[in-house]
C-alpha cells in the first residue's frame, strides 16, 4: 500500500470549515443539477455533509463528487470522479457528479489542455477520496469506541469485523465532516481497484441523448440579451467605422456599438490571442433578429499597421510582432518554396551529418506540407456574461477558466474575488477554447449594456476569426551507404508562424549522425494550439518518410522502426531523447500482433505508423481496400500505451475519435487565404470527414501496465495521418506529400 502526504493538495482542505453549510460549493448552481445514473435508486438526501472540496456525502449514503476540470468531450467529467470514488471506496451507482465552478482555493489546474487532466489529477483526486475515507473511518472509530486501524471499508460500508458492527457512509458523514484532516492517507494498491479500469458510462449521457441544456449556447438567464460581433473580413485589416442607420431601427435591436477587447495599454496574456481587437457589436432580443441586423450593418475597414505587443507568458514578458499586409496562400507557398533552401537554426546535431551526406551512396529527400486548419468545434464560440459594477458572472465553454479570469479581471479592473466563472459542457474544444477572447468580449458587452448578454458567434464568425493550426513544412533527408544502411538523418522544419520540430523525438537517438533544424516566418494570421500541436503534422510527415525509407532499404516498415528503436534503447545517441524506446517498440509490437501484420491479403492495402506525444505511445495499422476505384478505410488497428486506463470503453471511444479526426484532417480539410480573407467560411466549402468516409471498423488495444496514466485526448490523432498516407501508397502507387491528400497540392483547399 502506498501512503501519500496530503500536503500536495492541502489547500483543498484548509478552507473546509469555512465552507461547510455555505459558500460557493453549496450555493445554487445552474450547472450543478444532479446527474443521476440510470441505476440510481436512492432518493436525494435531506442533507449533504461536506467532507472536503471534492465531495459531500448525504445522510443516505449518496455521494456528490465535484469534477474540477472543463469537459470538452474527453470524458473527464466521468473519469476524474472515478478516481475520487475509487479511493473513497464507494459504490459508483451511489455517485452523483457535479461540474465544479472555477475555484482556485479548492482545485488546482482547472484546465483542459495538453492531455494532462488525468495525469496531473491522478494523485490529488485519489487523495481527496482517500482522505474522506480516512475521516469516515475516524468517525466510525469514535462512534463505536474502537481503534480506527480495525475498521475496513467496502462499497460505501464501514465494517468492524471483531464486533460485527457495520454502517453505511451516510450515517457517519455528519461526524466525519468534523474530524481532523489526516496528514497522511493510504492509497489503494492497483490490484485492489474496483472502479478504475472498469468501463463506466458518460455521466451526462442521458442528458445528451434527451436534449437537456448542457452547453454554453443553451444557457439563459432573466433579462438576457443576445449579442453578436462583426469582425474585419480579412487578417491584416481593422475596423474603421460603422454605419448603423439601417440596422439600428430593425426589430428587436437594442444597441449597436464598437468595443475594444483589450485596452490599448493592455499586456496580453498567454491565451489572449486575437487578431481583431476592435469589433462591432449588435445586441438584440433574439438570435434571428440580431443575425438580420448584422447583415444590414454597414462597416468600413482599413489596413492595420505593423504591431508590436507585449505578451505576458506566465510571468516572462516577450514582445510579439505582427506584420501588416494582406496574406494569400500564394504568398505562403512562396515561403514554403524558399525558406527550406536557406540555412535554418540548428536545434540538435549528433555526429557529423554533413560529412555522412557528402559521402552517401544514395540520398533520399522529401518535402511535406500541411495547410492552416480551423478547429470547427460543432458548438461555435459563445459566452454568457452578467457584469455589474459589483460583480461579474460568466458562464460558458472555456478550456482555460483560471487564466481567463485573470484577463477579465484586468480588462474590467475588477478583483478576481468578484468574478464568478461556471463551466458548461463544451461542444468540442480541440484547443480552440484555450483562447478566450470571446469571453472577454462578452464581459465588455455586458458591462456596456448593464444587462446580462449571451455572445454568439455564427459559424462564419467562428471559422474566419480562428486561432488556427499553423501551416507547416517539413524537409526530410536520409543518407544511405552502398549497402543500403542508414548512415545519417536530417530533418528541417518550418512554418507560418511557428515550426513543428520535435528535435529530441524519435528517430533522434537511433541514428549516429543526425541533424534537426528549423525556420519560421511571421504572419498576421492568428494561430494557436490545435489537438496535439505540431505533432498533428510532424508525426504524419515523419512516418510517411520512414515508410519510404524502409522501402528504399527493402525492409518491412514495422521491423525497420523496431530496429531503430532497439538501437535507441540499447545504445542511445545523445542524452536528450525524450521518449522511452521500449514503450515505443511495445505499441508497434502490439499492433503488429493484433493486426496479423505478417499475414497477407492481396485485396487489402496496409499502412503503418507510430508516434509518441503527450507522454503516450500510439501505433496504427490501417487497412484500405479499393471499391469502384476509390480507397475505403476498411479497418484501423490502434495500439496505445498511456499507462493505467481509467475508463476503458470511454478511452476506446476517444481513440476511435482520434483516428477518425486524423484521417479526416489529413484527407479533406484546409483553410486557405486570399488577400487576408479566409476562403472557406462554412461547411459547404470547408470539408470535414463524414459518416461514409470514416473507417468501417476500428480496433483499439491498450498495453497493460501499472504506470501512472498519461495523456489520451491527443496522442491517437497524429500518427494515423502517416498510416493513411502509407496505405494509400500501397493501394494506388502514389505517395502523398501534401495535406489534404484529396488535392495533394501545397496549401491548396
Amino acid at each position: 500500500m502506498k501512503t501519500v502526504k496530503t500536503t500536495i493538495g492541502r489547500r483543498s482542505f484548509i478552507k473546509r470549515s469555512t465552507l461547510v453549510g455555505g459558500g460557493i460549493m453549496l450555493s445554487f448552481n445552474w450547472l450543478a443539477s444532479c446527474d443521476m445514473t440510470p441505476q440510481q435508486v436512492k432518493a436525494l438526501p435531506k442533507e449533504w455533509f461536506k467532507i472536503n472540496g471534492f465531495l459531500k456525502i448525504g445522510e443516505n449514503g449518496l455521494v456528490t463528487i465535484m469534477s474540477p476540470n472543463p469537459e470538452i468531450g474527453q470524458n473527464v467529467k466521468t473519469s476524474m470522479p472515478m478516481l475520487v470514488a475509487e479511493e473513497l471506496d464507494t459504490d459508483w451507482n451511489d455517485v452523483i457528479v457535479e461540474q465544479a465552478p472555477l475555484n482556485t482555493s479548492v482545485f488546482t489546474r482547472q484546465l483542459a489542455g495538453g492531455s494532462q487532466s488525468i495525469r496531473q489529477g491522478w494523485n490529488s483526486l485519489r487523495m481527496a477520496g482517500a482522505t474522506a475515507r480516512a475521516m469516515l473511518i475516524q468517525a466510525a472509530a469514535k462512534t463505536w469506541n474502537v481503534d480506527a486501524s480495525e475498521i475496513t471499508t467496502s462499497q460505501g460500508q464501514l465494517i468492524h469485523e471483531a464486533s460485527g458492527k457495520k454502517s453505511g457512509y451516510g450515517p457517519m458523514a455528519s461526524l466525519a465532516a468534523q474530524m481532523e484532516v489526516p496528514k497522511e492517507v493510504p492509497l489503494k494498491d492497483i490490484s485492489d481497484f474496483k472502479i478504475i479500469g472498469t468501463s463506466r458510462k458518460n455521466v451526462d449521457g442521458t442528458k445528451i441523448v434527451t436534449g437537456q441544456p448542457l452547453y454554453g449556447l443553451d444557457y439563459s438567464a432573466d433579462n438576457m440579451l443576445i449579442a453578436m460581433i462583426v469582425h474585419p473580413p480579412a487578417f491584416g485589416m481593422q475596423l474603421k467605422s460603422i454605419d448603423d442607420s439601417q440596422a439600428a431601427g430593425m426589430p428587436g435591436i437594442k444597441k449597436i456599438f464598437k468595443i475594444k477587447t483589450h485596452l490599448d495599454n493592455y499586456s496580453l496574456g498567454a491565451f489572449d490571442n486575437d487578431a481583431f481587437n476592435e469589433v462591432a457589436v449588435i445586441v438584440g432580443a433574439t438570435t434571428w433578429e440580431v443575425m438580420n441586423a448584422k447583415k444590414a450593418l454597414k462597416t468600413e475597414w482599413e489596413l492595420s499597421p505593423n504591431k508590436k505587443e507585449d505578451l505576458d507568458f506566465f510571468g516572462s514578458t516577450m514582445t510579439v510582432e505582427t506584420p501588416a499586409g494582406l496574406e494569400s496562400s500564394n504568398d505562403h507557398r512562396k515561403i514554403f518554396d524558399e525558406m527550406p533552401k536557406k540555412k535554418g537554426k540548428i536545434v540538435r546535431k549528433d555526429g557529423d551529418p554533413e560529412k555522412m551526406f557528402s559521402k552517401a551512396a544514395k540520398i533520399i529527400e522529401r518535402s511535406y506540407t500541411c495547410p492552416f486548419l480551423a478547429h470547427n468545434t460543432m458548438e461555435p464560440m459563445n459566452f454568457f456574461a452578467d457584469v455589474t459594477s459589483e460583480r461579474a458572472n460568466l458562464v460558458g465553454p472555456i478550456q482555460t477558466p483560471e487564466i481567463m479570469e485573470g484577463s477579465i479581471s484586468k480588462r474590467l479592473g475588477m478583483d478576481k474575488e468578484k468574478i464568478d466563472i461556471q463551466m458548461t459542457r463544451m461542444g468540442g474544444g480541440f484547443g480552440r477554447r484555450l483562447y478566450g477572447h470571446f469571453m472577454t468580449e462578452a464581459a465588455v458587452i455586458s458591462k456596456e449594456m448593464g444587462q446580462p448578454v449571451k455572445l454568439i458567434y455564427s459559424r462564419e464568425d467562428d471559422m474566419t476569426q480562428g486561432t488556427y493550426r499553423p501551416a507547416y513544412h517539413a524537409l526530410y533527408r536520409a543518407a544511405l551507404d552502398e549497402n543500403n544502411n542508414l548512415i545519417a538523418f536530417h530533418v528541417k522544419t518550418g512554418g507560418i508562424p511557428e515550426s513543428p520540430l520535435a528535435a529530441n523525438r524519435f528517430p533522434a537517438g537511433a541514428v549516429d549522425h543526425y541533424m534537426a533544424e528549423e525556420w519560421t516566418e511571421k504572419s498576421n494570421i492568428t494561430v494557436g494550439a490545435f489537438r496535439a500541436p505540431r505533432s498533428n503534422f510532424i508525426a504524419g510527415a515523419e512516418q510517411a518518410f520512414l515508410d519510404e525509407l524502409a522501402e528504399a532499404m527493402d525492409k518491412d516498415p514495422i521491423d525497420f522502426r523496431l530496429e531503430l528503436l532497439e538501437r535507441a534503447e540499447k545504445d542511445p545517441v545523445g542524452e536528450r531523447n525524450d521518449y522511452d524506446a521500449s514503450r515505443y517498440a511495445g505499441v508497434l509490437k502490439l499492433v503488429k500482433e493484433k493486426s496479423n501484420w505478417t499475414g497477407t491479403n492481396p485485396e487489402v492495402y496496409r499502412g503503418t505508423a507510430a508516434y509518441f506525444c503527450h507522454n503516450s505511445y500510439v501505433a496504427n495499422v490501417l487497412d484500405l481496400e479499393m471499391r469502384n476505384g476509390n480507397p475505403v478505410v476498411k479497418k484501423v488497428y490502434c495500439a496505445i500505451d498511456c499507462g493505467i486506463v481509467v475508463n476503458p470503453d470511454a478511452a476506446i471511444n476517444l481513440a476511435e475519435g482520434g483516428v477518425v479526426d486524423g484521417i479526416g484532417h489529413a484527407m479533406y480539410s484546409a483553410l486557405t487565404f486570399k488577400d487576408g480573407k479566409p476562403e472557406q467560411n462554412n461547411f459547404d466549402q470547408y470539408r470535414l470527414i463524414r459518416h461514409s468516409e470514416a473507417p468501417k471498423e476500428i480496433e483499439v488495444h491498450f498495453v497493460e501496465n501499472q504506470i501512472d496514466p498519461t495523456g489520451l485526448g491527443e496522442p491517437p490523432f497524429p500518427p494515423i495521418m502517416g498510416a493513411m498516407a502509407n496505405a494509400l501508397y500501397k493501394a494506388t502507387g502514389v505517395r502523398h506529400y501534401n495535406q489534404p491528400f484529396i488535392t495533394d497540392k501545397p496549401l491548396a483547399g
Binding site: 440510470p38 470538452i72 468531450g73 470524458n75 458510462k201 458518460n202 451526462d204 449521457g205 442521458t206 445528451i208 441523448v209 434527451t210 436534449g211 437537456q212 441544456p213 448542457l214 449556447l217 443553451d218 439563459s220 443576445i226 426589430p251 433574439t286 438570435t287 434571428w288 433578429e289 438580420n292 468545434t377 460543432m378 458548438e379 461555435p380 463544451m426 461542444g427 468540442g428 474544444g429 480541440f430 454568439i456 455564427s458 459559424r459 470503453d649 470511454a650 471511444n653 476517444l654 476511435e656 475519435g657 483516428v659 477518425v660 479526426d661 462554412n682 461547411f683 459547404d684 470535414l688 470527414i689 463524414r690 459518416h691 461514409s692 470514416a694 473507417p695 468501417k696 471498423e697 476500428i698
Partner: protein
C-alpha cells in the same frame, strides 16, 4: 412580426416572430427547447435536425411561416422518458464524446429507422452523411443504429 400556432412535440405553442425566422431559433429562443442545436445555419452539418411529420429536416432552413399545422418533433419530444430505442442504443454504446451533434444524429437515425427498419451499412452512411460529428464517433453511431434496428 406575425402570430403562429405551432404543433411541437404534441403541444400547440403560440409564437410571435418574424415569418422568416428559422424553426431552429423559434425552438431555441422562443420555446426554450434548446436540445436542437445550431451548428452551421446552412443545412450542412445536421446539428439542428428535427422531424416534420416524422421526416428528418434541417430546422435552420425551415422558416416558421412554412410549417403550418404540420407536426414538429424535437429531441425533447422523441420519447417521453428518453427511452426511444435509438436513445437507449446511444447509451448502450456510450456514443457521445462532446455530445453537441448527437441530438441531430439521433433525430436523423430515428427518422431513418422509421422509414427503413433494417438499413444496410451503405443505407446508414447515406442517411447519416449530412450529420457531422467533429469528435469522430461515426463508428459508434453506426453500431448504435444497428442495435436500435434489431430491438
Amino acid at each position: 412580426m406575425a402570430q403562429f400556432q405551432l404543433n411541437v412535440n404534441g403541444e400547440i405553442h403560440e409564437v410571435n416572430a418574424d415569418p422568416t425566422t428559422p424553426i431552429l431559433w423559434v425552438l431555441r429562443d422562443h420555446l426554450n427547447l434548446v436540445g436542437t442545436k445550431y451548428g452551421c445555419g446552412i443545412a450542412q452539418c445536421g446539428a439542428c435536425t428535427v422531424h416534420l411529420n416524422g421526416i428528418a429536416v434541417r430546422s435552420c432552413q425551415l422558416p416558421v411561416s412554412s410549417v403550418g399545422t404540420n407536426k414538429l418533433t424535437t429531441i425533447e419530444g422523441l420519447s417521453e422518458k428518453g427511452d426511444h430505442p435509438v436513445q437507449k442504443a446511444w447509451i448502450a454504446h456510450d456514443v457521445p464524446q462532446c455530445g453537441y451533434c448527437q441530438a441531430g444524429q439521433i433525430m436523423s437515425a430515428s427518422a431513418l429507422l422509421e422509414a427503413n427498419p433494417n438499413p444496410t451499412d451503405e443505407e446508414i452512411e447515406s442517411a447519416m452523411n449530412g450529420n457531422i460529428c467533429r469528435c469522430g464517433t461515426y463508428t459508434r453511431i453506426k453500431a448504435a443504429i444497428k442495435t436500435a434496428s434489431n430491438s
